[in-house]
Amino acid sequence: MRIVCPFCGERELGEFTYLGDAKPVRPEAGASEDEVFDYVYLRDNVAGQTSEYWYHGGGCRAWLKLTRNTLTHEISSVEPAAGVGARQAVK
């Protein structure tokens, strides 16, 4: 697999580390156990297009959000994951 890092360009799979589904958003402080349980443990585990976190640890150390098809491994987009998993920022 080759991933086009938005910062570094196309790179080999070995430079990246997979984390998991980028859909769940970390619940706010004070969230219930049920909400956090859902965030930490339950997964859609989609067969098809899914968004997910990858870390370019062997390169620029950016966390990325990939849209990838789990049936074909085809990657349709790669973007910086900045803030993707954030709860609404408390200003």
Binding site: L13, Y18, G20, V40, Y41, N45, A47, E52, R68, H73
Partner: protein, 417 residues
Amino acid sequence: MKYSIFSLARAALSGHKNWQRTWRDATPKDRYDVVIIGGGGHGLATAWFLASEYGIKNVAVLEKGWIGSGNAGRNTTIIRSNYGLPGNTGFYELSMKLWERMEQDLNYNAMVSQRGVINLYHSDAQRDAYARRGNTMRINGIDAELLDLAAVKKMIPFLNFDNARFPVQGGLLQRRGGTARHDAVVWGYAHAASALGVDIIQNCEVTGFVRDANGKVTGVETSRGKIGAGKVGMAVAGSSSRVAAMAGLRLPIESHVLQAFVSEAIKPLIPGVMTFGAGHFYVSQSDKGGLVFGGDIDGYNSYAQRGNMPVMEDVCEGGMALMPMIGRVRLLRQWGGIMDMSMDGSPIIDRTPVDGLYLNAGWCYGGFKATPGSGFVFAHLLARDTPHKEAARFRLDRFRTGAMIDEKGQGAQPNLH
């Protein structure tokens, strides 16, 4: 037809024209007491135990392709019960005991071969962890031995002991561990279950659940029509999330690809099963002569049933580091199976929040060795509606309560288990 050397000899005289189908080619009935989704080892074993242990014979096993087409037919055939945590230890030993009588139970030679499984250690910390695990096994009445370097050298002298990056220091040995012929396990259960009246229905894909007004599952929609069921059991590891989604369930499971490899057949070289403790590599040699080996999962969610190169290289690197004598042996075939990787690395066998629907899932890369045990306890759950004693911790709600069974201590990240 009873299988034996005598029936073979008789059949030979008639040019083998009289053999019957190994399992009946059933057409679906309108309704069964129990419908098992998934014609893999676990599903077929469940059906056989339902029929043979619990007297429930009005059972169908629905398989979307050909039986054994999932992970049952795509693994490295290892059997062992060398687990270290309560919940796992007793269950896998139950399974091991069932392996030991399988062929006589089924009248089918699954080539269960207890040539031993050794996990090598390369550091004091690893030795201590294996000691802890071995002691758990012994306390549970399971055979386990902690070998020192001299004993390992004597047993498997061909390892790299001289110039290894991470020298072998010893190993945890379970002599009763070994391998079995994976396809034969599937066919054996199909053969025996079919003989007891279980309907095995191939090319029958489940496309939805039939629910009554209370939400209870009362049957399944399939590519071959609607089939009613008293209870529905899912044994579709690799596809658990997809099937559960049809019932509106989200599971603590991700699907990952695990590759396995086989070499060209060579004369006997490796006695039992070995796992490298300083890299991702385990190996055994099949009766046919191929080295069957594997390593880590590819590391990202996948339903693609094929692997990528970095893991193939990583596995071969482990192999060469452990035993550089395999350098000129050729890798013949690589394949990938889809694993139900659970959030703590241990399986789930439980009722689901949906009435009438029962779940057998989350086997990670350890499902094959569990086949008979899984069938046994899942049949118990389906027959009695209470978990079998040895599967009592494989609860679906354990992630919610915090009672995880996390052998590797990696937490809620499936690809690290």
